[in-house]
Symmetry: C2
Subunit: 412 residues, 2 copies
């Protein structure tokens, strides 16, 4: 089979926000490519396609196994990442750089922007005579917003961090009671914010409706459900009146009914990234604005102001090194599967993860077309959302197996 | 020996900001008290002395060992904590509540405010005829700001979180380069912020002066050294020009030359706590203000604005459940030592940790007088500080053994 494959080099890059397991995918691809006889050199791009077009490359053909395995256990993109979102002209330069380096196999680890880059690069290369370039996308995103997949490598480890953080922080907030707002990453999709519900003891989530138990988080605000500041306030008041405290999970992407990010209505002077998006991560503005909103209006039984605090969990969500074991395995497996697609003679493609129904967790990889993933965004399905401020039991059942065994926490 | 001890009940409470190991101290005290024949009941105060005076008590005399051990591994104050800082009148009510409950042994787990509460309660009880109350302070603070101790239970686990967070975040920042500012807890003492230096590979810290290596953190700002916003900017510029990125550790307590918290000069509308202190935790204002300051002035080689992000690590610093093994052991040991002081017939006291000189870590507990600890604040000694924006190698040598083995992180 391998005899019909074009002979040449393979190149691999990492793109977008790093994750705790993105290097598992890098190492999975490199090790699998070492077994492919048609592949001569295995080249890494420094900082994704921006390094490729600038000839900032690193030879991974003979990197020692021990070093690779140490890298695999290390969070963040070992090759460096890039936020570049190439247009057709940029992609033409990528194809040129690939030709220059005799690259026949192009692997790009990233989210839906990266699969779009793969798609355009593939199209441009296909249009050129006498040059074969096969392009494969290896999925990665803590946001879990790729279509056609049950979940995405990177998400389970980030969800593990969020579940652990909310469980510990809920106990902190029970120690010194007040309103505690925690802002979670996720511009469009609420999966990661929803993972906060795993902090509740197993089997409790949504049982008697949102915020019915005394375990935090008591309120969960997703970007899929419009946030009304007035209703938000009465939600917090209701929980606070019942328990004397309230732990709130808020997605950084929460929006008004009109589709405006809440933070743009509450704070000024916000950064925009290279894609023109408002900067939601790396600033505490949303948490502080919501906390101020609660402070202004909420009083305790004695008429005194209530203790209100906000934490924005920030970049630790995507780089904390205590990863989900399933995630580490799947991130490596997805890359291996992409190499296997190439070896089978596929000309391009992406990898999806599917999950078998049943009580025991069982997942498989599936080949999908680049065009079916590229640039598309998955959001929380309605059956994962309960009311306007909680996730459903179906979400919890879906999410819990992914994160691995969480630290046990006891109460008096 | 125990026959001369007053017969009655023992009471124990937790105070101030919780830590990841404060329940080890609770469990250590309860288990040790079970071996004291003069002690009839072991009572827990709900939310410290505020629960005691309101008769919100919990009987721990026969709580099952298995439950206690599970609590010991759980972060945050299992009994609930309190920020009350009792004056003599409040302390008189505490003594009354102790008499009401036939308490002869009073144990309070907390920082220097809590040792002061112990001291006042002890004085008031001593002045009363026909009532013996023996008061012991069990040290706890992530700030490490208790005098007479090499370090304080709670600090090593928080330092472990900070070292892990900076190591992972440095790789994230190397993946997508920019200026990254991380704000660390610690109002007066820079020990916890300094622990960021442990994120550098062993033996590198301060070797060739501050920020000489390429590993983050590149700049460390402590509350002990005045922060000049202009100098801060040129520090960041210097590192950014050399590496194309810069990771900064900033204590929430950084001050101007005149002793004003930097945040009060940069942001408005700040909360004050029950002690009249400006709220430094639970808001992102300082990080955002410093990030804005850098954004306004720093340009990259192409004259474009630089990517600048800030994270405020928040309450996860004190409740993250991946604790330092030494810290867990010492938090329990300090409480056991306090009970041993009581059994020996001491009338009051606090516990200090001393460390033996030498390459191998070896620590011991020592009895100290309440008045010698109460209300006093330890700051970083000059030999732990290097220049205006780093810690010294002496600090790193002091700190590294405390945090336990950190996750290994590799680079290409």
């Amino acid at each position: 089979m391998q005899s019909v494959l074009p002979k040449g080099n393979a190149i691999i890059g990492q793109s977008g926000g790093p994750t705790a397991v993105i290097n598992q995918s890098l190492v999975g691809a490199v090790l699998a490519l070492r077994g492919v006889t048609a592949v001569k050199k295995i080249i890494g791009m420094r900082h994704g396609v921006s390094g490729l077009v600038a000839d900032q490359l690193v030879d991974l053909t003979r990197t020692p196994l021990k070093q690779l395995e140490a890298l695999a256990r290390t969070p963040a993109a070992a090759l460096g990442s890039s936020r570049d979102k190439p247009d057709p002209e940029y992609c033409a330069r990528i194809v040129q750089a690939c030709r220059r380096n005799n690259v026949r196999y192009f692997f790009y680890i990233g989210g839906n922007d990266s699969s779009d880059t793969c798609r355009i690069v593939n199209e441009i290369a296909n249009a050129q005579e006498f040059y074969q370039l096969r392009c494969f996308h290896i999925p990665k995103t803590i946001d879990n917003d790729l279509v056609l997949s049950d979940h995405t490598p990177g998400f389970p480890s980030a969800a593990r961090f969020i579940a652990t953080a909310f469980a510990a922080d809920a106990l902190d907030n029970a120690s010194l009671p007040g309103v505690k707002i925690n802002v979670v990453m996720g511009r469009h999709a609420g999966f990661l914010t929803g993972a906060a519900a795993l902090a509740r003891p197993a089997g409790r989530a949504g049982k008697d409706g949102p915020a019915s138990g005394d375990h935090g988080p008591h309120l969960i605000y997703l970007p899929e459900v419009p946030l009304d500041p007035q209703r938000f306030l009465s939600d917090v008041e209701r929980v606070y009146a019942r328990l004397g405290r309230c732990q709130v999970a808020v997605s950084e992407g929460v929006q008004t009914e009109g589709g405006q990010p809440i933070v743009t209505t509450l704070a000024k002077g916000l950064d925009r990234d290279a894609h023109g998006n408002v900067q939601l991560s790396g600033v505490g503005a949303l948490g502080d604005a919501l906390a101020d909103h609660v402070k202004k209006h909420l009083k305790n039984a004695g008429g005194k102001p209530v203790r209100v605090r906000a934490d924005t969990f920030g970049y630790l969500q995507r780089c904390w090194p205590d990863v989900s074991p399933i995630d580490a395995r799947e991130a490596r497996g997805a890359a291996r599967f992409a190499v296997r697609m190439a070896v089978k003679g596929e000309l391009s493609g992406s990898v999806a993860i599917t999950r078998a129904p049943g009580r025991v967790y069982k997942a498989a990889f599936k080949a999908v077309a680049l065009a079916d993933v590229a640039g598309k965004t998955r959001r929380m399905p309605p059956e994962f959302i309960q009311g306007h401020c909680d996730v459903s039991e179906a979400f919890v059942k879906w999410c819990r197996p992914l994160v691995g065994k969480l630290p046990e926490m006891a109460r008096l």
